[in-house]
Symmetry: C2
Subunit: 331 residues, 2 copies
């Protein structure tokens, strides 16, 4: 990579964020891409530290993700979890046998005092990932969801309760004590293009932005700042973002997404099915790109990645050169 190669930093949760990470990695050279992942979904299971969003990003970029589920490793077995259930442990959080290796390894290094950021990078490198996977903080910060039955951890709400309870409130335990990592701040400061992935604005991107120094870095960066809306046709592709937007007092629309990111982005990329939102978004001073944001195939992912680079006047390499130019409707 030349010294002049532009730097792209992606803020991402799991699902859509991981898909966009695949697209970006496909058109960028090793070292160009940094991904600041979400650690507020982390939770300890069976005494092991599980970091679902970071693992989804890592497994996706390593080509090991279970593509049908969008999380976990492909071709998994569940013998260890079955063994734990036989011993009387809860097994509502699915953890596959090879996935357990990641959690065991991470937990061992954490107990040895290795920084969580360094662990994430070590795991990524061991699995062949060349992008930089960064943590917003090495400290514990955990999203909690208030329901009629009280506060739940994010995984209790998301996995155990399958997002069924009404969301009354969200909070991030540990936020006040959490310090940002130098790597994350540098990746925001030094980026040419800063992308907010089409992940849940409140519980995936939100916890990253909740760190004041990260928010401040985003406000000050010289990078072109683009968010990709997670909504398609005004709805979430997957997950509870729509109900969470409502619970947090935002409209469940691209305008609500824009409000979440107020002051932090220059452009918003929305799906063709939501093109009616363009005027209202522009009225808020946002450049708006209307395109196909649903990433079903690898070609879709690389197309969207290439469009994002184009917004910042950058060009990718690799896969994208083999793809048709996507149809763009720039507003």
């Amino acid at each position: 990579m030349s010294a002049q190669a532009p730097k792209i930093t992606l803020l991402a949760g799991g699902g859509g964020g991981a898909k966009l990470a695949i697209g970006l990695a496909a058109i960028l050279q090793p070292g160009q891409l940094s991904i600041i992942g979400n650690v507020a979904d982390d939770q300890e299971f069976h005494g092991l530290w599980v970091s679902p969003d970071i693992d989804t990003i890592t497994y996706s970029l390593a080509g090991l993700i279970d593509r049908s589920k969008g999380w976990g490793l492909a071709n998994e077995t569940s013998r260890t979890l079955e063994g734990l259930a036989r011993l009387g442990s809860d097994d509502w959080m699915y953890l596959g046998d090879q996935d357990f290796a990641t959690h065991i390894y991470r937990t061992e290094l954490r107990r040895q005092g290795v920084r969580p950021s360094a662990i994430a990078q070590t795991i990524a490198r061991a699995l062949g990932v060349t992008a930089n996977i960064l943590l917003p903080s090495d400290d514990r910060m955990q999203t909690e969801v208030k329901t009629a039955r009280g506060w739940l951890s994010f995984q209790e709400y998301f996995v155990r309760e399958q997002c069924r309870p009404e969301v009354l409130e969200l909070r991030i335990q540990g936020l006040e004590e959490a310090r940002p990592t130098e790597e994350a701040l540098a990746a925001i400061r030094d980026a040419d293009l800063l992308i907010l992935a089409p992940s849940n604005p409140l519980v995936s991107i939100g916890p990253i932005l909740a760190l004041p120094a990260i928010r401040n870095a985003l406000e000050k960066t010289r990078a072109t700042r683009v968010a990709v809306s997670p909504l398609i046709g005004g709805q979430t592709v997957k997950g509870p973002a729509n109900r969470m937007l409502k619970a947090a007092g935002y409209s469940c629309s691209n305008l609500g997404v824009a409000d979440c990111y107020r002051g932090l982005i220059d452009s918003l990329v929305i799906d063709v099915s939501d093109s009616a939102d363009v005027a209202a978004l522009q009225a808020r001073g946002l450049k708006t790109l209307v395109t196909q944001t649903l990433m079903s195939s690898d070609a879709d992912k690389a197309c969207l990645a290439r469009e994002l680079l184009a917004i910042a006047g950058l060009a990718g390499t690799g896969l994208a050169s083999q793809l048709d130019q996507p149809e763009r409707v720039s507003a």
Copy 2:
């Protein structure tokens, strides 16, 4: 079980000890049998606390042991270990996927401050074991083996180096600080029959006896005290006991085994192939029973168990009643 039912306590390592435990459990009622296992083979792997001898006993009594290997669970897979190897971890210590569940569970409870003894009992109960599996100590005590290349942990010597290096010396790290458990002391004090299993006298039974209060309890117990020699034809069935006896200054024979247990046993059970040793053993004041000590089948195990009960004038129930009376040569 009636209040009068005799109590049998077995001191055991893995292999032969676990086989005899199966035999005893088959002819005794639930609650009659207590087994004090060896914890000095324990070692942390991947940040998880592995207790090979205790697990061998537990899995054996649960009917889950891999009978072809004599350790580990039957029908195991090794996806978690493969995952750890992919991350760069050592994988010379084989740990199967369901076995990992045990280590994860044990480690979680240890970190929560649960006594190792209580954990062992909880695991045993969860797997359907009715015998009492007791630890000699809740404290850390680990056998180390001195070789020409320096001190090795027991598992490094036994598994990684496959017992190849010459044994120069043995020691137990942590022995001086280790306190015996009340349960182990009570099981020795209250037993009617106290059996030292045909396990390695130095690294399986030895670490249990190395605790002064346990040795003292053995000296004082009203129980009939019987050891089963691990030697057959003057050789070990499996493992490095013969070379260790020599390294520790004992003769590699039933006389050496008797010397290891001097003052702690009333009777020694030896194999028919070693009947020539009877006179010398009797000269040391030991009652000697000559029988078939190799336990190939479940019938063998129950037969030997029944013979041990007979030495103390006790009779078993269950399986043994369905078996032919074993041929006995009492000396």
